[in-house]
Structures are given as C-alpha cells and as structure tokens.
C-alpha cells in the first residue's frame, strides 16, 4: 500500500476574466494525506472566504481540470471521476425528484453494485440516521436532512476520500452539533478519510486531525498543522488557544 493516500502536487488554476486578462485563482497547492489504517482521518483545508477552496475540491475530485499540477490517488494519477473521490458540494445536492432511497440507489447504480444493493442501502441509511425516512423526498426538509442524504450517497460507493465543501457553513445550533458528531463518529467507525474545506478556525481545530492552511488571491498552501487528538479540544483550553494562535499567526 502506498504511503500516501492522496498527493496534491503543485496544483494551479487560472481562467480568463471579463477583461480577457488571465486570472490566477490557485497557485502551488501542495499537500499529502497519509494512508491511515484505523480510526479514520479528517483533514481540513482552512482559508479565508473567497479563496477558491471550492475550486480546489472540484479539482481534487476531478470534476474540474487544473491548469497545472496533478492529483495522485494511491500512487496513480487521478484524472477522471470514478467514485473513488466523492465531492459533497456546499449547497444541498440531494436530488429533489428522488426520495432518500432513490438518491442512494442512484450512486450504487452508477457503480454496478446491484447485488449488495438492498442490504448496503439499509445499512447506510441507518448509519446516517435516516431510518424511517426512506420514502421521504428532500425538497421540504432541513439542510441537515439533505446533508445526511448527500453523505449517505457518498458513503454507499465506498470512496477512498470524501470531500465536503464547507459542511457547516449555513447550519446552526443543534443541527450543527449533530452534523459534526455524524461526520466524526462515522469517520472513526468506517475508517474514512474526509477532506473538509472551511473558513472557521474553531471548527477546523475541533474536528480535524490535520489542518492545511491556504492563503487567498490566489489560493496557495502556506502550512500544515497536526492536531493532537489526545489533548482536550474544547474551546478556551490551553492547547486549543495555542493552536489557534499559531494558525492565526501563519495567516499574517
């Protein structure tokens, strides 16, 4: 097994602006994620808002092509979306014309896993806490409910990495706590590798094993922080504050 699950090597992205001038939005993005055998791994990409985190996640998942650089998944170049790296966009992406079960079946259908379909779907539905809601449609449900569907749809294809674009951005209160617990507990239980983008330092420290710092205009990786999960990660503890200060210092 290769040492690194994911290698992001010198990724850049530019496009032509309205005036025709070339605009660089991502430059020299470099980081590596180790293959971890147990308890899973949550990595956060932390950067200010509007720093093209979404664009970076699209490139890592091969939804978009980079202008330069390469993505290596388990030692091989990853250029075409295959379900091995699944992207959960920031805005709700559960299909409103499909019920919970159909949304998950859609993903399984794409990956020719019909034999194990029913058992797998029921298992995933139960894991994300949607048991009893199989026939419900997502269009009149909360953001938390729709996130669970998108998460279940990602889990069902057994991806190597799940990319979640700002999962907590528009979620508040109890639902936010529930989503954090869901992501953290399933990461551990299913030994997942999850890459989250966020602009919130506190959230990044609380949930991640590792934080990758990215500058803005253009987005550029500027450092990495390993979080010691054995420490008390409650806000206002000494360890939390010291990590937070170090991160904030890196951005200055």
């Amino acid at each position: 097994m290769p040492e690194y699950l994911l290698e992001v090597n010198n990724i850049s992205k530019s496009f032509h602006g309205l005036a025709g001038a070339k605009q660089l939005i991502l430059e020299e993005i470099n980081f590596k994620i180790k293959s971890i055998s147990k308890d899973g791994n949550i990595i956060s990409i932390l950067s200010p808002t509007n720093s093209s985190k979404t664009e970076l996640l699209k490139i890592i998942s091969a939804v978009e092509k980079p202008s330069g650089g390469e993505i290596i998944l388990l030692g091989k170049k990853f250029e075409k979306p295959t379900g091995e790296i699944v992207l959960i966009p920031e805005k709700p992406s559960s299909f409103p014309w499909m019920n919970v079960k159909q949304n998950i079946e859609f993903a399984l259908g794409l990956n020719n896993k019909d034999q194990v379909k029913q058992e797998k779907i029921n298992e995933i539905i139960s894991l994300v806490g949607l048991s009893g809601y199989e026939e419900h449609f997502p269009n009149d449900k909360s953001l938390g409910f729709r996130f669970r569907i998108s998460f279940a749809r990602a889990l069902v294809v057994n991806p190597k990495i799940i990319l979640i674009d700002e999962p907590l951005k528009n979620i508040h209160g109890e639902t936010k706590k529930e989503i954090i617990t869901l992501i953290c507990s399933l990461t551990k239980q299913l030994n997942l590798t999850i890459l989250i983008s966020t602009a919130n330092v506190n959230e990044a420290i609380s949930i991640s094993n590792k934080i990758i710092l990215m500058n803005s205009h253009p987005g550029k990786t500027i450092g990495e922080f390993e979080i010691d999960k054995t420490q008390n990660l409650q806000e206002h503890t000494d360890y939390f504050i010291s990590v937070k200060h170090s991160i904030e210092k890196s951005f200055k």
Partner: protein, 253 residues
C-alpha cells in the same frame, strides 16, 4: 390591495357572480340588445350548435389538434432529450434567435403560409400546432438548461456518472417542473393560434364555427362556443397541472 395567495376560491365566487349578473341583466333588464345574448337563447343555441354547426366534429378537431400535437411534440422532445441537452451552442443560438424573431413576426403567419402551400389538407392544422409546440418546448428547454443547479451535476460527476446519465437522470429531471409551467402557458397560446388558423383556413374546428356564426351574425352561438372553449381550456390547463403535480412535484429550495 394585496392579492391573496390562493385566488381560486375568489375566482369561483366571481364567476358565479358574473353568471348571475348576466342572467339578471340580459334576461330581465335588457332582453333585447346587441351586446350579449339572453341566457334562455343561449340554452336554445346548444341544439343549433350541435346540429347546424356540427359542434362534436369541430370541437374534437380543435381539441385533437391542440392536445395530440402538444403531446406528440413533448414525446419527441423527450425521446431526443439527450441530444438536445448535449447539443452545441450553435443550435441553441439558432433556436433562440428564431424565438427573438418571432416577437416581430406573429406565428399565425406560418399558418397562412401552410394554408397557402397545402390548402386542401385537413392535417395541416396538426402540423401547424405541432411545429409551434415543438419549437417552443425546445426553446424553453434550452432556456431552462441555464438554470440547472450545478451542485447536482458536480455531485453526480464525482460519483462517476457519465454524460448520458447526467443528461437523462439529472438535467432532464431537474428542468421538468419549469418546462411544465411553460407547457401550461404554451397551451393557452396554442388555443388562440389554432382558432385563428381554423378561422382563416375554413376547415374543421371551433374557429370555423366562429367564422360561420359571425357570417350569420349569430351572437348566441358565438357566446355559447366561447363558454365551451373557456371551459375546455380551463380543463386542459388543469390536466397539465395535474400531470405536473403527479410526476414532477418537486420544487427547488
């Protein structure tokens, strides 16, 4: 004054009010006038419409031309949806430019050309309604493609969906509620165009009844056929709404 969210109940009440006003005004107060017929005369005109104006044949001819052509146009668009969704900008630009031109050249002109080219064909009306339906469904489809939420497409791509699956299961499905809203509006336009077409061509259809009733200065026939047309258009729009709510019930939030 603000309109209530659901004005249907009020509309029903208003319709009943208008109906009673018409009875009181034109049956008892102004029985002889050149504006609207007496309600009792309208009742009697049903038999004349049935026998003299051949209402069943003409009614079925118009209804058939509109709904069969509309359904056929939708089915054809449905069957070539993947091609239409994937089709390049040239086709989109061509259709949208034609749509823009149609603001200045009324669609009935196409009907006049068709009558000129094939004066004796009874099917020409079907072709006319079909062409308009087909064109507008494609134009609306192309317009709605711009509004498809990219997060649906991006999540499907990352799951490994191919272009065909995305076109069929994501993009086509995603635009259906709005496309059906356009169908309801299109269906209203088709009624006007079909009646004008029949009026001009003189073939079978409700337009032909209007033409003959106008020639005979038969105001009660005109009035009665208008009520029948109105009820049919209302029922037609309810049918399309029913189909939309049954099959494409979702909304985007």
């Amino acid at each position: 004054m603000r309109l209530k969210k659901n004005p249907v109940k009020n509309l029903h009440k208003l319709l009943i009010l208008y109906f009673f006003l018409w009875i009181i005004l034109f049956e008892f107060i102004l029985p002889v006038n050149n504006i609207l017929p007496k309600p009792s005369v309208v009742l009697l005109s049903f038999s004349a419409l049935w026998n003299d104006y051949k209402l069943p044949v003409n009614f079925l001819s118009t209804v058939g031309a509109i709904y069969i052509s509309l359904a056929l146009a939708y089915i054809i668009v449905w069957s070539i949806k993947i091609y239409l969704i994937k089709s390049n900008h040239f086709i989109s630009d061509f259709l949208l430019s034609l749509h823009w031109f149609s603001n200045f050249i009324p669609w009935i002109i196409l009907g006049i050309f068709l009558i000129y080219w094939l004066p004796s064909s009874e099917y020409i009306k079907y072709i006319f309604v079909f062409l308009i339906s087909f064109f507008f469904i494609i134009v609306h489809l192309k317009q709605e493609l711009r509004n498809v939420k990219k997060e649906y497409i991006e999540s499907a791509i990352s799951l490994g969906a191919d272009e065909k699956t995305i076109s069929k299961k994501i993009i086509w499905k995603s635009i259906q509620p709005q496309l059906f809203n356009h169908l309801i509006t299109l269906h209203f336009q088709l009624w006007s165009l079909a009646i004008i077409f029949e009026f001009i061509s003189g073939g079978y259809g409700l337009g032909n009844i209007y033409r003959r009733a106008l020639e005979y200065k038969d105001i009660s026939a005109i009035f009665t056929i208008t009520i029948i047309t109105g009820i049919t258009i209302f029922l037609g729009s309810q049918l399309i709404k029913y189909l939309k709510n049954k099959f494409y019930h979702w909304s985007f939030v």
